[in-house]
Amino acid sequence: MFRDIDLEYKGAVIDPKASPLISGLLVAALLFVLIWMLLNHEVHYGEIQHLVDDNLNLSGVSNPVTAVLLNFRAYDTLLELAVLLIAVIAVLPTHDYPAPILQKTAAAEKRLVIIALQRWISPALLLFAGYLLWAGASQPGGAFQAGSLLAGACVLLSQTGSYRINYTSIIARSLLVVGLAAFVAVALALIGFAGNLLNYPTNYAGLIILLIEAGATVSIATALASLYSGLLEPCFFEFNRSAP
């Protein structure tokens, strides 16, 4: 359907486009200034790096990136999950479409290659996502990578044409919020125990991080897959809107 999208400006103003010459010169000047600054100034001192290295044994994980994401700067990740949820809320239709979360449909055409690919790859993707989630504590990996893999598996499933995932069902909506809900629940509980928002006790930090990451993985996967499905099947949401 994207082939016949035509959203170019055809309004009353005769030449609405920016002048290529002026824009090009301005951007070239900006590029010149930025590269000059890169070459002549120390833009990054890495003071915080020592702070992270010194406190890594308090964080509950041994991978510094995971420690920054989910312990030292957990606020960022909390707000990031909220932003992701807001994007999904903006895209999903407001009322439920009465169907189970996974529905087998009568495929108009059998896409044999994609179906075979999905059957072979999906179990491997699930396994690998679980491994990435677990490995995030000590190696590169974690909730984001695992969530993207799971989202890819969902997209592959809907690409086969023989299944339809209903992202407005109550189960899918619960999966969408479970990451943020777990994060907020942990934060609120820690006010009671530690007196501070997101100040993990050192002994339980690893467990708390794993719990939050598991929830975040599920939420990120569902959110990315639902955003993608809204693009792929606008007719699905059309149908959705007219449903009683």
């Binding site: 999208i5 951007v27 890169l38 920054v68 895209v91 974690g142 993608y228």
Partner: protein
């Protein structure tokens, strides 16, 4: 010239290309794609700056980029969804005329 500096300059160059695309492109898909190129340039700059010397890597920019990639993907999907909705509205208005 170290490889980190080369990657930084490439990131800045990608940012400039994306900026030019956002300003000059008239089609919405091209604008969204150009915004993504800008974002990729910034991510590349941050990742390149995270590598100060051969042995240590600053985890803070890496965590920021990891967060940013997911947000950028969600933002792009939101923009494209809005574009499809705009297209539907335009189409119904043209049909009415």
């Amino acid at each position: 010239m170290s490889s980190a500096l080369l990657y930084s300059i490439t990131g800045v160059g990608l940012f400039a290309i994306g900026l030019l695309g956002v300003v000059l492109a008239s089609h919405i898909i091209r604008k969204v794609l150009a915004l993504n190129v800008m974002g990729v340039g910034i991510f590349m700059l941050l990742i390149a700056l995270a590598k100060q010397n051969a042995f240590t890597i600053d985890p803070l920019p890496q965590a920021m980029v990891l967060t940013g990639i997911v947000i950028a993907a969600a933002g792009t999907a939101l923009a494209l969804n809005l574009m499809v909705r705009l297209y539907e509205i335009e189409k119904t208005q043209q049909d009415k005329l």
